[in-house]
């Protein structure tokens, strides 16, 4: 498949809007051809299943699995919100394939234009479907730090996704970087419907963004919340606890977690999340205080959490490793 070539542009730590738009134009140009050439038969596609969780808000439950050829990287929750004039898509799944299923679902629900594609953070299972929306020429919106984080990891994400899914499920998948980054709480208007975007300090990653529909007080919280699926740490475990406690002061009516049911109440999700993170912090701190090593921590931290989460064996030891590397600097 054709590797996306991005011309050399001076990069100074942040993405200006102008350079981002220029990049987008280049990206769109580069993508137009391969995108239109991809033919997929949309028979029975689980990725295409969305439920209306609130008035005009649709959400999809991603599987609690690792990416593979059967699931096409459909392993994270995605959704869309329909306003009077336009539509915002929130996260796009782990491949062009899942992104396309999402786009088809939007088209089945409304003819209004897709004006925004919002990513909750830079992880591949949330952003690799972005390319399916380039024909809509939306504004790709994210936390201001997402462009940098995704840019640094993009090549590896593509390689890993292709390896996990295989050539066919991966086909058409490209990195589409955000065209604008949110530094401060920002409101987007879909026509008679406002979305409030709040960038968070480092927690699950260093670029977590919460999207709240003001009309229904429904929040897309991305991977700040995992439910059923074990949380995965790629930011700061202490920061994550802080952010969760802060959201808990004014909890949303309804949330769409990054992994878990398509929608759920805040309290049911918050309790187990906090318990897991606190358990890891407490156990790892104890091992560090005793002069223990990362290996000691991997062997002994948080085993009681094992029966409570899907994919525990796949991610827990890695979480402990990351928590150790963070907490030993305390």
């Amino acid at each position: 498949m054709k590797r996306l070539e991005i011309p050399e542009t001076p990069y100074a730590g942040g993405l200006t809007r102008r350079s981002a738009h220029r990049l987008l134009a280049l990206l769109a140009g580069a993508l137009a051809l391969p995108t239109s050439m991809v033919k997929v038969v949309w028979a029975k596609q689980p990725e295409g299943k969305f439920q209306q969780i609130a008035d005009g808000i649709f959400a999809h439950h991603g599987l609690h699995e690792l990416m593979n050829s059967d699931n096409h990287g459909d392993i994270a929750n995605t959704g869309f919100i329909i306003g009077e004039e336009s539509v915002a898509v929130i996260d796009t799944g782990g491949s062009f394939h899942t992104g396309t299923a999402l786009r088809n679902a939007v088209r089945a629900a409304t003819a209004k234009p897709i004006r925004y594609v919002i990513n909750t953070h830079m992880h591949p299972d949330h952003v690799l479907g972005n390319a399916a929306f380039t024909p809509d020429q939306p504004r790709f919106v994210s936390h201001a730090k997402m462009a940098r984080a995704l840019a640094a990891r993009g090549t590896r994400y593509l390689e890993a996704a292709k390896e996990a899914m295989g050539e066919e499920a991966f086909r058409g998948t490209e990195i589409v970087l955000p065209t604008e980054g949110v530094r401060e709480p920002t409101t987007l208007d879909l026509g008679g419907r406002k979305l409030k975007l709040t960038p968070k300090p480092t927690a699950h990653t260093d670029n977590d963004l919460i999207i709240v529909d003001e009309k229904t007080q429904t929040a897309f919280v991305g991977d700040l919340i995992f439910s059923g699926h074990i949380p995965t740490l790629d930011g700061s475990i202490l920061g994550w606890v802080q952010v969760l406690k802060e959201v808990d002061k004014q909890p949303p009516q309804l949330i769409v977690p990054g992994h878990g049911p398509a929608s759920m109440g805040w309290t049911a999700a918050y309790g187990p999340m906090l318990r897991y993170l606190d358990t890891v912090i407490e156990d790892v701190r104890k091992i560090i205080a005793e002069g223990g090593t990362i290996n000691d921590a991997i062997k002994t931290a948080g085993p009681q959490e094992a029966p409570r989460w899907a994919l525990f064996d796949e991610f827990h030891q890695r979480n402990v490793t990351a928590a150790f590397a963070e907490l030993e600097w305390e």
């Binding site: 070539e5 991005i6 011309p7 050399e8 542009t9 001076p10 990069y11 993405l15 990049l23 730090k145 462009a147 940098r148 984080a149 995704l150 840019a151 640094a152 990891r153 993009g154 090549t155 590896r156 890993a160 990195i175 970087l177 480092t202 990653t205 260093d206 790629d234 930011g235 700061s236 920061g239 005793e290 002069g291 090593t293 990362i294 290996n295 991997i298 030891q317 890695r318 402990v320 490793t321 990351a322 590397a325 963070e326 030993e328 600097w329």
Partner: protein, 276 residues
């Protein structure tokens, strides 16, 4: 860095060998042996044989690593050998820069059992090797195979701003161990905040690789005596972290001087066990 050219050459040669001999099972083993041979010639004196699976040291490494960018490895040298060890070299055979670090021990390294642990990047499934050089010039090695991939090109940096804001921050920790009355050594840990950019992490916004910038030297002293002097490369994990044993009997605090490839020097001192 000299090893890179030879290594690439031998990998390419190895690929051809594999294509030519599709059914020959030993092809892969031959390729690995050839790779090690070329690294060995670059790093160690060709005239001196290396004792493999030596009983003069042990090497611990996880068979399957949780995070390829932070693979913990640990070397132990028994008390009867420790005083004779001049140098310890750690290698990740298949990394683009196979030599992780070389530690030259000094007077304050102590006479008891010597332990040294650190964290390394592993770019693909590879042998990890620890080689010690004794005072008679002889070389002794232990090897472990580790399954991990992507450690050199993956930006493990979870919070990029924090990583750059804290660059050069140093910490020395004195570590508690099970009390051994007879032990003449104590254990401590030195930690350096540094992204240790490998030069292989690409910024997709620009299509450019982030230039290599890493800690190339860490010297630890007890009082005015050297515990070890390390020369490191890009295969050392970000936030270089070394646990080590040192002589209790030497007066003075532990001090560390770290230097990166930009010529920046970072230093700190901490009173620890055995200080007077």
């Amino acid at each position: 860095m000299k090893a890179i050219g030879k290594q690439t050459g031998s990998v390419i040669a190895g690929v051809f060998a594999a294509i030519l001999a599709m059914q020959a099972a030993p092809a892969l083993a031959d390729e690995d042996a050839e790779l090690w041979q070329s690294i060995r010639e670059d790093v160690f004196d060709e005239q001196i044989p290396i004792a493999e699976e030596s009983d003069k040291l042990t090497l611990e490494a996880p068979y399957r690593a949780q995070d390829a960018a932070i693979v913990p490895i640990s070397v132990t040298i028994p008390a009867d050998i420790a005083p004779r060890v001049r140098k310890l070299t750690l290698l990740v055979e298949k990394n683009p820069a196979p030599v992780v670090a070389a530690f030259t021990f000094g007077e304050a390294a102590g006479l008891g059992e010597r332990k040294l642990s650190t964290r390394v990047r592993v770019d693909m499934y590879s042998n990890i090797r620890a080689v010690i050089e004794l005072d008679d010039g002889s070389l002794h090695m232990r090897t472990k195979y580790v399954k991990a991939a992507g450690g050199c090109s993956a930006p493990a940096l979870k919070d990029m701003d924090a990583a750059l804001a804290n660059i050069g921050k140093l910490k020395i920790r004195s570590l508690r161990r099970a009390p051994q009355r007879s032990s003449s050594t104590a254990e401590a840990q030195v930690m350096v905040r540094h992204p240790n950019y490998s030069g292989m992490q690409m910024n997709q916004l620009t299509g450019l690789y982030i230039p290599a910038k890493y800690v190339e030297r860490i010297e630890v002293r007890k009082g005015d005596k050297v515990v070890f002097d390390m020369e490191g490369g890009i295969s050392l994990s970000e936030d270089p972290n070394i646990r080590f044993t040192y002589a209790r009997g030497v007066d003075g605090p532990l001090s560390v001087i770290a230097k990166d490839t930009d010529g920046k020097t970072f230093t700190t001192t901490a009173p620890v066990k055995g200080s007077s």
